[in-house]
């Protein structure tokens, strides 16, 4: 059992949790993830580690309510427990002093951009961060990102805050600045955003990495659920990734595979919502009886 020590609402449907997991906190590096299972009936869901506190023995994850499992997690509070947390999984981000690094975070992807930006800054890079969301209320980690960036640029699709438009518009402006060439771009966010970033940087031939978020089961290479095509070759995100060269990544395939259980997820979510509406889930009813 893993105890939640702190819960914070970051935006509409977006929550930050600190979870007691000392051995993971001690070992984790930027870019790595954990797999959570909420209870005996739960599925295994991967979540990137946004931060850790070695002294407190906690890791930080940020979750957006999108389906049954994330709803379950979002419903928990400090003091509640999660049945299983395993990690740190995946390869850490390759960090070195690249020079001028641009971190692009879209929506909840900023949760992943933050530790990477922090590590890049630590390694001596000039870090420019671009974070974006649909609207101001959905923007997360603005202050945290500012603290690890030499320059922070914010965009909202509806213009309610920062630059009116997409992260890619701002990114293109940076790339066009011939006096200050960009050495590396790291993009984390919804798959269409990462695909768009890859297309923007491709003509400039700037090395671009994306952190991929496929469906996973075991997370240790055993099942192959998370396979993606990188430069025509099949890779497992859980052991080979999660970061890959965005110019080589088949994002369309990833979008397609992420929709594998579209119908089943809808059933599960509706079921969950229904039972919530009944004033408790079936397990609780059993306990009451």
């Amino acid at each position: 059992m893993f105890e939640i020590t702190e819960k914070k609402k970051l935006a509409h449907l977006v929550y930050q949790f600190k979870i007691k997991a000392p051995s993971i906190a001690k070992k984790r590096e930027a870019g790595q993830f954990v797999i959570l299972r909420m209870n005996e009936h739960g599925e295994r869901i991967p979540l990137t580690i946004a931060d850790s506190d070695n002294e407190a023995g906690t890791i930080t994850v940020i979750v957006q309510e999108v389906g049954r499992s994330t709803m379950l997690l979002s419903g928990l509070d400090a003091g509640d427990t999660i049945l299983d947390v395993v990690g740190p999984l995946g390869m850490p981000t390759h960090i070195e002093n690249f020079g001028r690094a641009v971190c692009v975070g879209g929506g909840i992807g900023t949760a992943v951009t933050f530790p990477i930006g922090a590590a890049l800054k630590e390694a001596g890079n000039e870090v420019i961060s671009i974070i974006g969301s649909r609207t101001k209320e959905l923007l997360i980690l603005e202050e945290e990102m500012r603290s690890v960036s030499d320059e922070l640029l914010v965009t909202t699709d509806d213009g309610s805050y920062g630059h009116h438009g997409f992260v890619t518009d701002v990114l293109k402006n940076l790339l066009d600045d011939k006096k200050k060439p960009v050495d590396i771009v790291i993009a984390v966010g919804p798959v269409p955003m990462m695909r768009a970033v890859a297309e923007v940087t491709r003509p400039y031939k700037v090395k671009t990495l994306a952190s991929l978020n496929p469906i996973m089961v075991d997370g240790t290479g055993m099942c192959g659920a998370c396979r993606v095509t990188i430069a025509g070759e099949v890779k497992f995100v859980c052991v080979d990734g999660p970061e890959f060269d965005a110019h080589d990544t088949d994002f369309d395939e990833l979008i397609m595979r992420n929709r594998s259980y579209f119908k089943e997820e809808k059933t599960a979510t509706e079921e969950y919502a229904y039972h919530q509406g009944q004033g408790g889930c079936c397990d609780e009813k059993k306990t009451d009886a």
């Binding site: 051995s23 993971i24 070992k27 299972r37 009936h41 739960g42 599925e43 295994r44 049954r68 499992s69 049945l83 299983d84 947390v85 395993v86 990690g87 740190p88 999984l89 089961v217 075991d218 240790t220 290479g221 055993m222 099942c223 192959g224 659920a225 396979r227 993606v228 095509t229 099949v234 497992f236 052991v239 395939e253 397609m256 595979r257 929709r259 594998s260 259980y261 089943e264 997820e265 059933t267 599960a268 079921e271």
Partner: protein, 473 residues
Amino acid sequence: MIDPKEIRERMKIPKQPMGEQEPMERIKNFYEVPHGYTEEQAIEEARRCIQCKNPLCVDGCPVGIDIPYFIRLIEEGKFIEAARKLKETNGLPAVCGRVCPQEDQCERVCIIGKKGEPVAIGRLEKFAADYEREHGEVTIPNIPKWTGKKVAVVGGGPAGLTAAGDLVKMGHRVTVFEALHTPGGVLMYGIPEFRLPKKIVESEVDYLRKMGVDIQCNSVVGKLDTIDELLSEDYDAVFVGSGAGLPYFMNIPGENLVGVYSANEFLTRVNLMKAFQFPEYDTPVLKGKRVAVIGGGNTAMDAARTALRLCPEEVSIIYRRSREELPAREEEIHHGEEEGLVFRLLHNPIKFTGNDDGRLTAIECVKMELGEPDDSGRRRPIVIEGSEFTLDCDVAILSIGNGANPLIQQTSPDIKTNKWGNITIDQDTGRTSKKGVFAGGDIVRGGSTVILAMGDARRAANSIDEYLKTGQW
């Protein structure tokens, strides 16, 4: 010793049939297929054993169970004693009685089998172990005083659990590090409920815990502590039984379409995550209407028979050689045939095709014929020119083997591996190239059986014990 007249009498006793669920009934559920022997049947079957003075069956057993002895105990009605006798050499008898390929091991060399059917050793093993468990008679053996040594076991599957059980009985302290949320390895995620009920695995694991084995789930060695850290911090030796790792794919077009699974993923979703009970359990699986399983081994049969129980219209096996070469156990093939599994033998997929949503709709196949024997001694399958055809199908499950998992080797490069990435060991001792580190099971063998993994673990446990006592490498 039994006199010759009695032997002749015994040889007249027919092999006791095993009752099982009717095929059309059992494909609607996940309950175990065979019912198991009754006490009377077990005693009668035990009487078929002629108690050879030099029993070949014992040599045929990878862990060297004293087979005639435990069978005699069953014959005498001493079922609990029989189970304890089994447990002296086999920590997981209820598992092995179900999943061992006895027909290639103990039963293959049984002298009774020369003239008729061999003694049903596997069924008797299952009977004794089940009897003990169901009658609440499981007792924990005496554990010797702690030797002061600690052993880390990487992986809680058949190899790791066997090593742990043996080592703890030798007086060492043992911690098993399991990556998944539950111990058991392939016994939990791979082998289906209808062949090996999970409550049996749980009770075998519980037995080890009661003996003092410490099992840490959610612990990925290499990602948390590395083997070097384990050796320098707390442990005197390490046994690596991390199992078969990465599933192979065929590298043909369309392999990443939605609906194409590895057998590992399909089975893990259904067995470990209980997707057959979705949405009561949260993990889904695509059940499909027409399912094709590619491959002909035991895992392929498990996947196919699991798929059958999820109610599609047709489940078929696609295998590139003929029935004769199917690597699966005859019993599994037979059960599959009874359950309506379609065998597309001498067929091979060349391409997966899908719709606009990226979902699998068909497999393009070719027909094969057998040519000259290849390196494996089996006749090489050759494509018949112009034999291409399309098979409608919305779920395909690839069961063509596993490569080595890279997690251990990535962080312990001083453990020598072969060209496939499997750890190389000294066959007799299970020693790897790294001091204090031993290995066994599928991480060494590539893809093999539960019992061979257990045999490896037993040998390794003995040499770990020796190493811990002498300190000599």
